[in-house]
Subunit: 213 residues, 2 copies
Amino acid sequence: MSLARVHNFSVSLDGFATGEDLSLEAPFGHAGERLHEWMFATRWWKETTGGNGGSSGLDDVFVRRFDPGIGAEVMGAGKFGYPGWHKDADWKGWWGPNPPFHTPTFVLTHHTRPSIEMEGGTTFHFLDTSPAEALETAREAAGGLDVRIGGGPTVIRDFLAAGLIDHLHVVVVPILLGRGVRLWDGLEELETAYAIEAVSSPSGVTHLTLTRR
Amino acid sequence: MSLARVHNFSVSLDGFATGEDLSLEAPFGHAGERLHEWMFATRWWKETTGGNGGSSGLDDVFVRRFDPGIGAEVMGAGKFGYPGWHKDADWKGWWGPNPPFHTPTFVLTHHTRPSIEMEGGTTFHFLDTSPAEALETAREAAGGLDVRIGGGPTVIRDFLAAGLIDHLHVVVVPILLGRGVRLWDGLEELETAYAIEAVSSPSGVTHLTLTRR
């Protein structure tokens, strides 16, 4: 069975998954890289980016679940680019010529454009559809494998509210952003549909896994 | 040195410390008792309420920090009673004749009334002052011991914003309340003033301790 999975989705203690004032220069706004420093410290990140060292404990175990078994990704327009990227005909995402997805990757946007084939197996497709339709399209492209729901927070919230997520991994980072876009808004009693497990890492973050009951 | 401490302050995953629709019948509104079930399961709670059994692990270790070294408590009007309690001349709090504070207990309210001496060492005093002044008054009453800041969320936020809290223990409960009063609002970059430690309990909650740097 093909699952819809979220991995390594970082939020602050006060629940923000991105800051305010997003721009080409500041993809996460005033949050900067503070939500993702736990990930940069892992061995997986070092290996992936050509470095050495890194931690091989709990954070690394979780972060490595990103790739295996995934056959496609769905992401929101706000993850693919800075506010206004749709006016830039040459924009191909933040990730350079070889993005880290390595599968068909569906971008939900009201401003669709022709598909873009990148190096390393990533092809960006642009869809103006509902979450359920996007997931169905991605599942077909995934060839029986799972689909990663890549974010941002609004997209994950929409997919959760529509009952489409099977596995959600959230990383709570011990900082207070104070402002930005919240992950958890409007999801009252989500725990009735998901078993929630929390495990704190010596790095300071807490890994939450929500598994559909 | 007399510290200002918060203990066993429970919030939902989405950061709410109390629900909506508070009343005499529903002290925590639609949240019910869900934020505090972890506490009711501890050995400390069973002992305190005349029961048997209960867990003696991590949750119990944390919950027992409530009393030792405390010489006074400060609480908000919203903790002392239901909305409108100030119109009830006979209201003496939720806790019956022998409240669990056993020290002078200062209630911050715009509707002051004469002090009420209860059994077991608790005396309620009513103050219409700033957080800093209330803390000073409570410190004098505490005779060199620490002061517990008892909540609710608005009071803790006000004391944090005023830089008055030395130690904050928050218990994150894996439920989503969706609405109510949030603890963390307006506290951007609180982590620069506090070392934050998180430890998850097998019971499912995560204990956060914030210690002033």
